[in-house]
Structure formats: C-alpha cells, structure tokens
Symmetry: C2
C-alpha cells in the first residue's frame, strides 16, 4: 500500500464523515405561521350551519389553501386573534402554533407531525358564531421537508427519515432532526415555524442544504 | 507502513473532522428575555430626577442585576410592556429584543454584540415619568458564551472566536456562529434569546456541547 492508496482512503473517510455532498442538496424554505385546520362539524360550530370556507390564496402544496376566515385561539393565560384557517376541511381539527405562542396561551402542546394529534393539548377556538373546546389538537409542528419520490431519489433519502438542514444566514443554524415526507402530491419545500425562522433570522425564499449524516457532529 | 499505521491515520483524520472532543466541552445555557440597559440621564428622563434602580435579583454574571423597574418599548406597529431593566446603569442606553418582538414593534434592529449599538435601530422607551426616543440602541443580541481565561484554555478557544454549540433537545439544533467572550469577571454560560430557546425547545438549565471546528459540515 503506497501513499496514493492512503490518500484515497483518507479522502473516502473524509467524504463519509462530512456527509458526502449530494448531487442535489438545496432545499427551499417556507415559514409556516400559526394556523388552524378544521373538520366540517367544528367549522359549522364556529361559523354557522352549512358554512363553507372561501379561498384567499393557494398554498404551495397542491390543493391546500389559505381561507379568508380566521379564528381566535384561547388558553388559560391569553389568546391570539386572527389565526388563519387553512383549507380544505380535514377529518380532525388541529391548531399549529409556535412555542412562543404556546407560552402566551399558557398551554403546553407537544412537538408533532401534522395530523398526529392523539393526546396533544386541548385548546379553545372562537369563531363569529360560537366557540369550541377541543380535547386534543393543539401542537407545535415538527419541522419537515415535503418532496416527490423523484426528489427523494436525487437526495438519496426515504419517507420518514430524519436529516440535517444547514442554513447560512446572519444567524446561521443547523436544524438537526428534520423529517422527510415523500408524496407525488408534494412540492419540494422545507417547512419551519416562526420561532425557527426568527432564531435563524430566516425569511421566506431562503434555502437550506440537506445533510444526510445526522451523526457527523 | 502497515495496517496499524493506516488505522491510526484514519482515526486522527476522523477526530480532526469531527472536531476532536475536547476534555471540556459542556456549556450551560441561559435564556435572555428582552431587557433594557439605561444610562443615568435616560433613567432620570423615564423615572424622575435622582432616581436610582432597586435590585430585584442578582444575575449570574458578576455585579449585574435585574431591577424591580420596567419600561414599555414602543415602535410604529406595536409596543411591549413590562420590559425588565438590568442594572447597573451603563454609559449608553440599549434595548435587546428578539426578532419576534421586533416584528411586533415594526422595527428592524440589527444582530449585534451587546454594547455595539452604533447605527442600530431607533426606539421609543416609556417610563412612569416620561418617555424618550433614542436614535440608536435597539438590537437583537448575538448569541455568545461568557467564560473565564481558565475556561478558554480548557475549551482551547480565544476571546472573539466563533464556535458551534450543539444542543440535544426535543427539537435539536446547532447554533453555528457563537461568539466567545472571555473575562476574569465572567461565569461560564451561553446566552441565547427567547427565539433561539423556543426554536430549540430549550429551557433554562439545559446544556450545549461546544464544537470548535465550524467548518466540519
């Protein structure tokens, strides 16, 4: 074994430890503000019988939209007004807030993937025609990356895997446990909440670099 | 050169790339809520002639204290009440807020090391006996680690150097550009703001691991 062999071993080790740069590793970042998803019956409790959401704007993920309607989220220590409802209606109502919001409300929602609300925090939602107390449904959203199967192949990742995302900003940060979510319906985009955005001084339109090897540090 | 030699070369490369675990690498983390430092003349404008701050509690850094007195910080889009004043009085008044606070105020303070307020954002401070508009002084605090020269030696870092701090929490994060500040007067402690704490779901009493090699990712 000569010097050349040793150099190539070292190079390989370095690549592996660094989490080898992938051919594709850039992910656009979107910041999710606090929002609410409602089931049909809760929507009617808050806005009246037969009520349907009206679309304010399409969201980047297919079929999802921001409604013109908003609600107030209330907890034992405070409330937050004008929280946007996202459509279409879901099977279960759910409110996604930041930790900063949760402290203001005086509630302790768990960190969860959207839709996984079993055993999450109760919360009060107030609309123009009534209010509801849901026994579970308040969560802090787990940061995640939406991507298509084609993206997943290019990034060499799988649905359900966790990766790092490194963001170069004025206050650079590495998100260290970011969930990969793969579906044909998705468009490539990382979703973070406002606390994560503000910690990294990240505004919409910024990009992160996906790093596969979570244990490289 | 035999296999043993190659193995030890590889081990050395791995250690260097990983940012070799230091004998000492654990840093306690403290969360700084929004606060204000006032010069004597601004204190008197807000609280009356001859006024002196009264101590509510000592802070971890020597000689610093939280005062009983608070002020309101106001901007074009909103205001924040009951912002704690920290003593003793300084030469220049300064208010440190999170990015979340800055958005609420409608102001755009720069990320700065405490005390470096030249060209920072103007802001209005309101007290019980008057209010002042300071032309500069509103900042978002650069995250940093206070330590003694003895700590710096153990961590193998210097005053003014930037390091990474890795935090293991429910939402693990790596702060990627953390300033080292060394003084005999300091006590070992990393200071982050509430946005950084909430992004990492970090509460007081948590610890981070200092990683020297900023370019390891």
């Amino acid at each position: 074994m000569n010097k050349q062999d040793i150099a190539s071993i070292i190079e390989e080790v370095m690549d592996q430890l660094k989490g080898k740069r992938l051919p594709k590793d850039i992910v656009p970042i979107a910041v999710s503000a606090r929002h609410v998803h409602l089931c049909k019956s809760d929507l009617e409790s808050l806005f009246g019988e037969g009520f349907e959401l009206s679309k304010k704007a399409d969201l980047s993920q297919l079929g999802q939209f921001a409604a013109n309607e908003t609600v107030t989220i209330a907890g034992p220590k405070g409330s937050i007004e004008k929280v946007r409802i996202l459509g279409p209606a879901r099977n279960l109502s759910q409110a996604e807030v930041s930790k900063t919001d949760a402290i203001k409300l005086g509630l302790n929602p768990p960190l969860r993937e959207s839709g996984k609300i079993e055993g999450s925090s109760p919360v009060t939602l107030v609309g123009p025609k009534g209010s509801i107390y849901i026994k579970e449904g308040l969560i802090i959203a787990q940061n995640h990356i939406h991507m298509t199967p084609q993206d997943a192949e290019a990034f060499q990742v799988r649905n359900g895997e966790y990766v790092q995302i490194k963001v170069e900003s004025d206050r650079p940060v590495i998100f260290n446990h970011v969930l990969i979510r793969v579906s044909e319906k998705y468009r490539l985009e990382m979703h973070i909440d406002t606390d994560e955005a503000n910690a990294g001084l990240i505004s919409g339109g910024q990009q992160g670099r996906l790093i596969k090897n979570e244990e490289s540090l």
